[in-house]
Symmetry: C2
Subunit: 331 residues, 2 copies
Amino acid sequence: MPNAAEHAHNTTVGQLGEAGILEILQACFQGMTTGEGVLGPGDDAAVIPAPRGNFVIATDAMNEGHHFLRQWPCGIADNGYSTGWKLAAQNLSDMNAMGAIPSAVSISLAMPKNTPATWVAHFGAGIATACRRLGAAQTIISGGDLTRADSIATVITATADLVDRPVLRTATEDLTGYRLIHCGNVGLAAAGYAVLSQHELPTLTRADVRAIRGFLRPRPPLDQGPSVAGKVAAMMDVSDSILTDADRLATANGLYASIDEQWTARKAAALAPIAKRHGADAYQWVLTGGEDYGLLAALHPDRQVPQGWDVIGQLTTEPQARPEITGWDHF
Amino acid sequence: MPNAAEHAHNTTVGQLGEAGILEILQACFQGMTTGEGVLGPGDDAAVIPAPRGNFVIATDAMNEGHHFLRQWPCGIADNGYSTGWKLAAQNLSDMNAMGAIPSAVSISLAMPKNTPATWVAHFGAGIATACRRLGAAQTIISGGDLTRADSIATVITATADLVDRPVLRTATEDLTGYRLIHCGNVGLAAAGYAVLSQHELPTLTRADVRAIRGFLRPRPPLDQGPSVAGKVAAMMDVSDSILTDADRLATANGLYASIDEQWTARKAAALAPIAKRHGADAYQWVLTGGEDYGLLAALHPDRQVPQGWDVIGQLTTEPQARPEITGWDHF
């Protein structure tokens, strides 16, 4: 965590001013602001190469009290690092879902004056480390905006380069009978959120900690999106839940999604020890838990399943019976 | 203002849900989501053409209570339209400053549940209308994020295509003796802010209204940046103030900025009637007022001043005497 230690724990961003905050972030992003053909940040805007003549772009927001907390009910604190990590991870996941390789991210950070300077340092370190550890070390920080707000509001916009045609949710071909395949964690973030939300937890097991990490620092499989582009017929990342997102992919193609019960049972079994301790339902986590940022794709039945992916069901013309579950609405 | 009337004035975004809010915005952005080579939004991300093999990118944030109000002390209300306009205008201004033509904007909108649906409709209409009226009708809405926050937090990220080399703040040549030239409003937004901030204003003159418009709906000269690219040696937009930004441009080139007193006097004279009525100093507005989003550039002494631009001073090796003025810091 670069330069977090340089500031006394009680220094606030109001005391540092814009230039001081920028200095902290620039230290976090050392080596991430230059590259071949890259100009800026530091000017009014940055110039980012787009060698294929186009670029992919998506935006994600995380607000304090709604998408992250500095102190979780179970007693775990987030010093800013996990917020930075998750902000980057979920946005890079959108690039992954298009089969694209991240080129740059722009960051907007709005904070109250009394925000500790160390929070900014850890937030920046979280973004930088997520880019590196998730396999997107080439990501340029293309700039952003630093400003005031009543509570911390963060927004990130990633851009990326395609390696093939963009992989969309809606295929050009009829997907009837195509297999649904998945890669990445499932239900783990929901389990982590459940653990974090418990009040006064006496002890944490290793499985609890793994789940908490899954929620606070998700690990989208960024190598997989570009690697299966051109092989799968449709793709999206699973940000809301397996059921919701499989239905979205199916609906976009005029079909229904059938989810393999054996796959669900296997995934639920892996989370059962955590669920049991906390009086929760592991099936619910697997089917309706969001924020794992795995990939969900439609694969032609004759095609080989890519390594690291599970077949989790198929696309059909018949409506599927579903457990009674309510979807997630951001409002 | 498309479909603002469709919702009862007391419908909130919490009642509409994410899908309902998206519908409102999609109606505002009709015809702005497709174009040659454009894919999305609607998928995980959008694909935007970058025919020259690179793109310009910058991000701006506006938060309620810090950068905009729904109700100003003088009694003027902003139903969301001016906020949308200004958010787009200031971000497109950054593209202008690089000599680039906007290709797309992504918008992040975080709101409390009780935000009126009509606010969203007017906000969207403000963005769309600013793009059209400022001469950037080709701008694609490349997506964004809709989510919850305790107060309204908006962020925009524009991308653009260069028409020449990017015009930076720091020139490759020595700028000693180069003229400082300017295009666009100056001091008008500061005058407007002063009027808006007065409590219980009995009447508004035409000049007051023009100034208020200048602050709430700034008009960056978007045709000028690309048109002078390749002719000026350095350029930036004036978002903070003539003095601050001229100093920044000078410092970036190892020089000092001298501002022509006659130009200042002429500009101040134009604002004097407003200043007089409100007991303010028009010189202060001209030299230290921000948010007009004009362009400031360095021009070789032998080059012709482009039409619509003023010579406002020059770059020198000697420090310049300055009125005592404190700069603006975002924290």
